[in-house]
Point group: C2
Chain length 139, copies 2
DNA sequence: ATACGGCCCGTACTCGACTACGGAGTTCAG
DNA sequence: CTGAACTCCGTAGTCGAGTACGGGCCGTAT
């Protein structure tokens, strides 16, 4: 009955920065594996569950859907474990992520130029932000 | 009556890769400015509206909410045009974007290592992807 | 031993972001 | 000059991702 017993759901929720209900929801959706239970029915989480949930949170903030995140998390074990298939899926995710990084960098450059223009006391209305941001090359 | 007249909503939708209803929705939400109308009531869009909508699309895919995107798009003109305020807001966006890029790069490295492990014919179940992805440093 | 949390479950509700009507007027190619 | 395709508007419905009950069982500090 020490701390090797595992974490209860509320503790995991606190550590990961989400609500208890969110964890149960992720469990239903297959994003967090079903943990062992005590005889009482209480869930007992291994500590690394916290990292998994934090990962889900970050990935959401990066524009991945729960469906995509589930795929990412299951890359290891899915497709009957056939390596070739896993590799292909991983590679296409890498390409997707590269695109996101490129877009973010473009937004960043646009914002930097807005900031620079402001510092040169140029009237804000003349900042070229929108032109840069909504530039011609779309996805 | 040449092409200088402007685009009708359906054309803009096609070019930007969204539905007509989405554009009307964005207009209601203040993400796309209200265009001039013909006497018939038909909207007549300047061509750069297409870029604006593409930008909205990309930004959504990068995890920004419509509220945040509206803020970005209004940076120039909001806050009564007071430069200092605009600059501060832009700078905090830059920081946020830097964080996103860092997280994406971490995911990418994790995926690369999964791919590498696969190519070395290591059994997929042993790939260290999850450990890398859900690493200790959260947001 | 009891009370005040925490946890169980299922169901229902919310919120953001669309998406789909339906009935009327408009455009324009043939 | 007609008919198919497009547009208008308002309202309602959907979908993803949670969030909130409510009634009942656990656990533990006093």
């Amino acid at each position: 009955m020490s701390e090797t017993t595992g974490l209860r759901i509320g503790r995991v929720a606190d550590l990961a920065g989400v609500g208890v209900e969110t964890i149960r929801f992720y469990e239903r959706e297959g994003l967090v594996p079903q943990p062992p239970r005590r005889p009482s029915g209480y869930r007992q989480y291994p500590p690394d569950t916290v990292d998994r949930i934090r990962f889900i949170k970050r990935a959401k903030e990066l524009g991945f859907t729960l469906r995509e995140i589930r795929e990412l998390l299951h890359l290891r074990t899915s497709s009957g474990g056939r390596c070739e298939d896993v590799r292909r899926r991983a590679e296409s995710k890498v390409v997707e992520i590269e695109g996101k990084i490129r877009d973010l960098e473009a937004m960043q450059r646009a914002l930097e130029s807005l900031i620079a223009a402001c510092q040169r006391d140029a009237p804000v209305a003349d900042c070229p932000i929108l032109e840069a941001l909504s530039g011609p090359e779309a996805r």
